[in-house]
């Protein structure tokens, strides 16, 4: 089985789909000749031509608007936003158009656009290259929202997203592009190579949208998380030696409530972890839903560990980032509530 890092896995997903389906096209800023600032589309224009792998003007709203129109006319556009901090200029086209088209036209028109965008911090990017805006999109009905945490899921979920007839916002935790970062920036960087989740088939396969994954089974408590934080939580569990169950949400819309709730009902304790700002973040929805379903089984309050409610400041990156120590402290609190 070939080994791929997340960049290669994502590239492979688009390669496979461009090859299989002549209606698939890739577009975005610097994605063509150059292959993207994170090299995720490298080589695709050379292989499929500049009519199928297009450089675009720097106009995120226009990119989504044009992608929507192409989708209506029979193509399957995969649009890259260079950083998810730059998705906001496209907000109206995503919320009012992409998400609503099928509904408002009662199915007469729809557009299967996939929007790919790197998110999250830990790369010294400062407040406009580090954001995790997924929570905002989870409040928008009519789009699917996913975020993989490893190369295998990245490829499988991206293929599923491209094949999906609904629009999908596909977040790529950029700190994981090259390795399974566990939240300790001082340690030497670890590469994906050798990690079982980096064993990625060359060809076509899909990871279904809407299914969470139990990353580690455990009985003491449940950690619900996604993206980079999956690896941080693994580290925190190693550090605390608690028998935690770790669930990687993967798909925020639709959400696999059953997998989450059956775990929490079993363990009676739940910690929710994400990198984004806490207030009204996606963790709030996770907490509220789990509490509604599992209330009678809860032995301690559901807690959240998240980024602070501030922008992501470049000099205080590691004070902002919810690292393993912060997660571990919460785990301990959860096991012996005050």
């Amino acid at each position: 089985m070939p080994q791929m890092n997340m960049i290669q896995a994502l590239n492979s997903a688009m390669d496979v789909m461009l090859e299989r389906d002549p209606s698939v096209i890739v577009m975005g800023e610097d994605v063509g000749y150059f292959g993207g600032v994170f090299r995720v589309t490298e080589g695709l224009q050379r292989k499929y031509g500049e009519h199928r792998v297009l450089d675009t003007p720097i106009a995120e709203g226009g990119i989504v608007g044009a992608a929507l129109g192409r989708g209506v006319n029979g193509l399957r556009p995969v649009a890259e936003f260079q950083f998810s901090d730059y998705i906001y200029p496209a907000f109206d086209q995503i919320v009012s158009e992409l998400a609503r088209l099928r509904y408002r036209s009662a199915g007469a028109f729809w557009s299967p656009v996939t929007v790919r965008t790197p998110c999250g911090g830990g790369i010294r990017g400062g407040q406009t290259h580090s954001q995790s805006p997924e929570g905002i999109f989870t409040h928008v009905c009519g789009i699917k929202v996913v975020m993989p945490s490893n190369p295998y899921d990245a490829k499988g979920l991206l293929i599923a997203s491209i094949e999906d007839d609904d629009p999908v916002i596909f977040f790529e935790p950029k700190r994981l592009y090259n390795g399974p970062f566990d939240g300790t920036p001082d340690k030497a960087a670890v590469a994906w190579k050798g990690d079982p989740r980096a064993e990625v088939p060359e060809g076509h396969y899909a990871v279904p949208i809407g299914k969470a994954q139990i990353v580690r089974s455990g009985a003491a408590l449940t950690i619900v998380t996604y993206g980079t934080m999956v690896h941080v939580c693994e580290a925190a569990v190693r550090d605390t030696r608690l028998d935690a169950e770790i669930i990687d949400v993967r798909s925020m819309i639709p959400l696999d409530v059953d997998t989450l709730c059956s775990s929490v009902s079993r363990t009676g304790r739940c910690l929710i972890v994400h990198e984004a700002t806490g207030f009204s973040g996606f963790g709030a929805e996770l907490s509220a839903t789990i509490q509604e379903r599992c209330f009678w089984d809860l032995e301690a309050p559901i807690e959240r560990v998240t980024g602070w409610d501030t922008p992501y400041p470049s000099a205080f990156e590691w004070d902002y980032f919810p690292g393993p120590a912060r997660v571990a402290a919460a785990l301990r609190r959860l096991m012996s509530p005050p």
Binding site: I25, H51, R52, T56, P57, A59, G61, G62, V64, G65, A66, A67, L68, G69, R70, G71, V72, N73, G74, L75, P89, D92, Q93, S96, E97, R100, L101, R102, Y103, R104, S105, A106, G107, A108, F109, W110, C141, G142, K144, D165, D166, G210, I253, P254, L255, V257
Partner: protein, 428 residues
């Protein structure tokens, strides 16, 4: 900067009241209620005065078309000049019929609203030539991206009035299944895109659609319409930009009916320059056309369509017209403009002008016109009866409320199924 750090400094005197007079320019408005509009602000060209360039002309070389006004019918209803491309009388009569039907439909639906049987309506009175002539100048395979004031496109493409009426009634025949505000129609078979409540979004969408056609090597083109007020939105810029960069086969239309609700077109940037003039700045030909002149509208649209189909790229058309009635049934224009404004509008009424032209040419008579009008009124009446047969407002909503949860996604996910069931349980 300490003044900033200390907080906003109240200007010692602001605006007209102050010693230091404000130097901010505020666009002029021709007249407010109680006065009479001076339409002198409108730059007019004589009919026939502007040249008709080759379809591969460079935008920069035909700038006069963006500043002037392409007109074919002169004040005596005679067609003149290079933009007069004679059309079969039958075609003109079809155009007249579509415009008359559109107006009859509008008038009837407006009345229906006043009777409380539909909740909202938007008329296109005075602007019928825009939609009808443009639809007729395009091919059935071309894709149309309308605004909410383009009902004439639906009429000209033969979408049954009943279908539109059922949408207005949100009844069993509603193509939108009760999800859209009245007038937000669409038609898959007629290739007319779903109308959005958010202004101007259709502009880059149409460009994208056209780009896809080009990628696929097809020769269908796309056309989009927005109001002059909506041209202020970002998506106007996105549309022009993407069309320019990829030379997309698309016609981008700005319907300048002088008003955006209560806001005069000067506030959309029409005071300093025409809207057509935005095109040449992107290398896109801009053509300003008398939007109440059926022949002129048809001719420029045909020119733009040929240009697009021959792969010479996009065209920006500004259709100069006047919104004769209220913005919508929620609006009362007598609060912000002279009541009799339309009587003084220098470009007349599109139906009247085409009618006179046909009569002058010997293809039409006053009595044929009366007969046709009566026939179309009857058609509207019978369509209305047909539409009501699919559910009247008095009967309450005739659609299954479960439809609310469909089409959010292609397949209904678990959480929506649960919500649908909860609602069903709630309603017994």
């Amino acid at each position: 900067m300490s003044t900033l750090i200390d907080g906003p400094q109240p200007p010692s005197a602001v605006g007209s009241a102050g010693a230091r007079a404000s130097r901010l320019h505020i666009p002029a408005v021709p007249a407010r209620p109680g006065h009479r509009s001076d339409f002198g602000y409108l730059s007019l060209s004589a009919a026939g005065a502007l040249p008709r360039p080759a379809i591969d002309a460079r935008a920069a070389d035909i700038g006069e078309l963006a500043a002037g006004l392409v007109r074919v019918l002169d004040d005596d209803h005679r067609p003149v000049g290079p933009w007069h491309l004679p059309l079969e009388p039958s075609v003109l009569k079809t155009g007249l019929r579509h415009m008359l039907l559109t107006r009859a439909f509008d008038r009837r639906m407006q009345r229906t609203h006043r009777q409380g049987r539909i909740s909202f309506y938007i008329q296109s009175t005075g602007e019928e030539a825009v939609s009808v002539a443009q639809a007729m100048a395009l091919r059935p395979g071309d894709m149309l991206f309308p605004s909410y004031r383009n009902q004439g496109l639906f009429v000209a493409r033969g979408v049954p009035l009943v279908d539109l009426m059922c949408q207005l009634l949100s009844n069993r025949g509603d193509m939108c299944k009760g999800r859209q505000l009245p007038v937000m129609y669409h038609s898959g078979p007629a290739r007319i895109f779903s109308i959005s409540g958010n202004l101007a979004t259709q502009y880059p969408q149409a460009v994208g659609w056209a780009m896809a056609g080009a990628i696929k090597g097809e020769d269908h083109i796309a056309a989009a319409w927005i109001g002059e007020g909506s041209s202020a939105e970002a998506d106007f810029h996105h549309g022009l930009l993407f069309a320019s960069v990829y030379r997309a086969p698309v016609i981008l239309n700005v319907v300048n009916n002088q008003w955006a609700i209560s806001t005069f077109q000067g506030f959309a940037g029409g005071e300093q320059q025409s809207f057509a003039a935005r095109g040449p700045g992107f290398g896109i030909p801009g053509i300003r056309v008398d939007g109440n002149d059926f022949l002129a509208v048809h001719a420029v649209t045909q020119w733009a369509a040929q240009r697009a189909r021959a792969n010479h790229g996009p065209t920006l058309l500004e259709l100069v017209t006047y919104r004769a009635e209220a913005h919508s049934t929620s609006d009362d224009p007598s609060r912000y403009r002279p009541r009799d404004d339309y009587q003084h509008w220098p470009l007349g009424d599109p139906i009247e002008r085409l009618k006179q032209h046909l009569i002058l040419a010997g293809h039409w008579t006053e009595s044929a016109h009366q007969a046709l009008s009566a026939q179309l009124e009857a058609q509207v009446d019978s369509s209305w009866a047909e539409a009501l047969a699919q559910g009247t407002p008095e009967q309450g909503c005739s659609l299954d409320r479960g439809l609310m949860f469909e089409d959010v996604f292609k397949d209904m996910p678990e959480h929506l199924r649960r919500q649908r069931d909860a609602l069903a349980a709630e309603r017994g």
